[in-house]
């Protein structure tokens, strides 16, 4: 069958299995699928919710973890949750927010699995203040090429290479993570309208003490308004900070009842003009938002989850994400060069996000101290032509790329920007993992 990621580009022909228990999974790992083209052991790649944008969870044989969806234990003293890898972050919120616990780190969608969150070592709006997802992972159980499950702890090779290892060290089957205590489901949000890039960067630095921060950035603006942004900071609201009406039920907040995109929209819907208009409207709306407001966790952390299947607005051809991080030493020049390149081609990104990262100490994770920029581009020849230019600028400024978003980078670009992956490959080959845990992405990147 045709397999695709969230960006729907690229698509590959492959087998999709959905084992129901570890024995069935072990059979797939050691013997390959019962039917289909990929007979014999390997290559195989685990697939959670399919939210990686590119080709990280597709390949000749993708193995869904959707039946590994049970919660196993919860310690209400420490907040440690043990669960199977197919449990989604949204399910964790549904179960534990009413008891006063929230995810320590969450990416911009709740529809990701625990396994996927670990494999990509995802980050959230609190990276600068609290770190990446892996900071709160106590252990991981991984099924290796021999079909055996190993529990691995922070500091061990298997753990460190699995965190951010894009599923290439085996199939994550269970894990233990730590949740954080919250007094309510509400967020105190501060909104700052920054009229250009320098103002946006200054706002990030000025509000560095905020727990959560990110900015939506208008990539269609150029000249004096280039890089204009709406910077949004947030703190979990305490019970005392809620209006009296909500104090009795502090975990009940408005939930998305949003629409679902019912069909693929035709490709022309997102064009430079509609993108420009949307972004201008969004900036105006942000500029008129009261500087301080109380918002529910769902619109604050997951605004895009409001529109189910939003990837369909890009039409059948799909779209690409570009996400890089530029180190603190050279971030302003790097970001400006990227924005200028986009503005020159008129490609325009419908949704663009800018965020300050803090230091990152794990072995393979994407973040580093600096600024990350995430952009979406409709899948067109013009966008494709722009990408190598953005790659080059990022590389020249000492930056690197997020494999959970990547769908088309060259092996050479990865080698040049992120030498850690060579060590990873060398270690993988000593473990008999090479050729056994393989995605379309790992083949493309020569991992």
């Amino acid at each position: 069958m045709q397999l695709e990621g969230w960006g729907r580009y690229p698509r590959t022909e492959g087998t999709l299995s959905a084992p129901r228990d570890t024995a069935a999974l072990a059979a797939l790992v050691t013997e390959g699928p019962a039917t289909g083209s990929a007979k014999g052991p390997g290559p195989l790649i685990a697939r959670g919710m399919g939210r990686a944008y590119g080709d990280a969870a597709i390949g000749r044989h993708a193995v869904s973890t959707r039946h590994f969806n049970r919660m196993i234990a919860f310690d209400d003293q420490t907040g440690q949750l043990t669960a199977e890898s197919g449990v989604t972050l949204g399910e964790i919120i549904d179960a534990f927010l009413p008891r006063g616990w929230f995810l320590s780190v969450t990416p911009g969608t709740q529809f990701v699995s625990l396994g996927g969150a670990i494999a990509a070592d995802v980050h959230g709006k609190n990276h600068h203040s609290e770190g990446s997802f892996g900071t709160f992972v106590d252990w991981i159980e991984v099924m290796g090429p021999d079909g055996r499950v190993t529990r691995t702890l922070p500091g061990e090779d298997l753990f460190e290479w699995t965190l951010g290892g894009m599923g290439l060290t085996g199939v994550i089957v269970r894990c233990a993570i730590r949740l954080k205590r919250v007094e309510s489901g509400w967020i105190r949000q501060q909104t700052i309208a920054a009229p250009n890039l320098d103002a946006a960067l200054a706002a990030f630095e000025r509000t560095y003490a905020a727990t959560y921060s990110m900015a939506w950035i208008d990539c269609a603006a150029s000249g004096a308004t280039m890089g204009r942004s709406i910077v949004m900071n947030g703190e979990h609201a305490s019970r005392a900070e809620l209006p009296a009406a909500h104090r009795g039920t502090p975990f009940v907040t408005p939930r998305h009842k949003g629409p679902r995109v019912p069909v693929d929209l035709p490709g022309f819907v997102l064009n430079p003009w509609s993108i420009r208009a949307f972004n201008a409207l969004y900036y105006q709306k942000g500029a008129h938002t009261p500087p301080s407001s109380l918002v529910g966790w769902e619109p604050f952390f997951y605004p895009l989850d409001a529109i189910r299947d939003w990837n369909r607005i890009y039409g059948r051809k799909g779209f690409m994400q570009f996400q890089c991080v530029v180190p603190l030493e050279s971030h302003a020049e790097g970001l400006r060069a990227i924005l200028e390149a986009i503005s020159r081609t008129g490609a325009g990104s419908f949704l663009a996000v800018l965020k300050r990262f803090g230091a990152q100490n794990s072995r393979l994770s994407f973040p580093m101290e600096g600024y990350t920029l995430a952009l979406d581009f409709p899948m067109t020849q013009r966008s494709l032509a722009l990408m190598p230019e953005l790659d080059r600028i990022t590389a020249d400024h000492g930056g690197r790329f997020y494999l959970a978003k990547d769908s088309r980078m060259s092996a050479d670009t990865l080698r040049r920007t992120d030498p850690r992956w060579q060590d990873f490959s060398a270690w993988r080959s000593t473990q008999g993992m090479t050729g056994r845990f393989t995605s379309a992405q790992s083949e493309r990147l020569g991992l």
Binding site: A18, R20, R70, M71, I72, A73, F74, E91, D94, A95, R99
Partner: protein, 244 residues
């Protein structure tokens, strides 16, 4: 007081989804199936997510003689009982091997009908309860591809209809569920039309709604009511030549 739901055949995908749906509404859950120890992970998952009491029980639908003892052994008589027991069997095997056919008939009809009859009787004595049988659209008309299964489900459907008729003046609700295609272990690997195929969660939600709204017969996807009306009304002369 907390209400309790009993799920018979608790390992199936529809059963698991029902357990979660009712637990979400605050029901305590009794999970019953063969090899009850294999239900422990599901029981723990339900407790963690929904903070309800969950118990597991050994139950074999073919052991009709043991039904009374099984019901006596439950910690409380449930308020709602959902029978999700079922096995498709292999049609060709059922044609050639009477024992295989009998197993399909007993698993889909005899056992479910008899256990729900006993539950209904206890509910009637107590004065309230809901009996929910998961039957199948396959029971609406026998077709070459699965008529042993279909006939057993037809029997179950008729049984539920009669039970409902008998209990209509009591406070015992009887609901017949005809899910249509559902993406489950039973249908894994089949090439099903996605427009006609429901998720186990959708089935569970439809069941919960039917109970709340006092419905009698539930088709999960409305289109199935139409499809089956057409299939049922085709004249036999025509129908016998079709390949459905």
């Amino acid at each position: 007081m907390t209400a309790t739901v009993l799920i018979l055949g608790a390992r199936s995908d529809i059963a698991r989804a029902c357990a979660h749906r009712y637990a979400q509404e605050g029901y305590d859950v009794q999970l019953a199936a063969r090899d009850a120890a294999t239900l422990d992970a599901d029981a723990q998952d339900l407790r963690l997510r929904h903070r309800v009491a969950v118990s597991t029980h050994e139950f074999d639908v073919l052991d009709t003689a043991g039904f009374a003892a099984f019901l006596d052994s439950l910690p409380v008589l449930p308020d709602t009982a959902i029978c999700a027991v079922g096995v498709m069997g292999d049609q060709v095997a059922s044609q050639t091997d009477p024992a295989a056919a009998a197993r399909v008939m007993r698993t889909n009809f005899e056992g479910p009908a008899l256990i729900l009859e006993q539950l209904a009787a206890r509910f009637e004595t107590r004065g309230h309860g809901a009996v929910i049988g998961i039957s199948s659209v396959a029971g609406d008309r026998g077709r070459a591809s699965n008529y042993v299964y279909g006939a057993a489900k037809a029997g179950f459907t008729a049984y539920l209809s009669g039970l409902r008729n008998r209990l209509s003046r009591s406070q015992v609700q009887v609901i017949t569920v005809k899910p249509g295609f559902v993406a489950t272990r039973m249908t894994e690997g089949m090439d099903l039309n996605p427009r006609l195929t429901a998720t186990p969660q959708a089935v569970a939600h439809a069941i919960w709604r039917a109970q709340r709204k006092q419905r009698d017969i539930v088709y999960v996807k409305p289109v199935w009511r139409l499809v089956m009306t057409v299939i049922r009304t085709l004249p036999e002369v025509v129908f016998k030549r079709t390949r459905l």
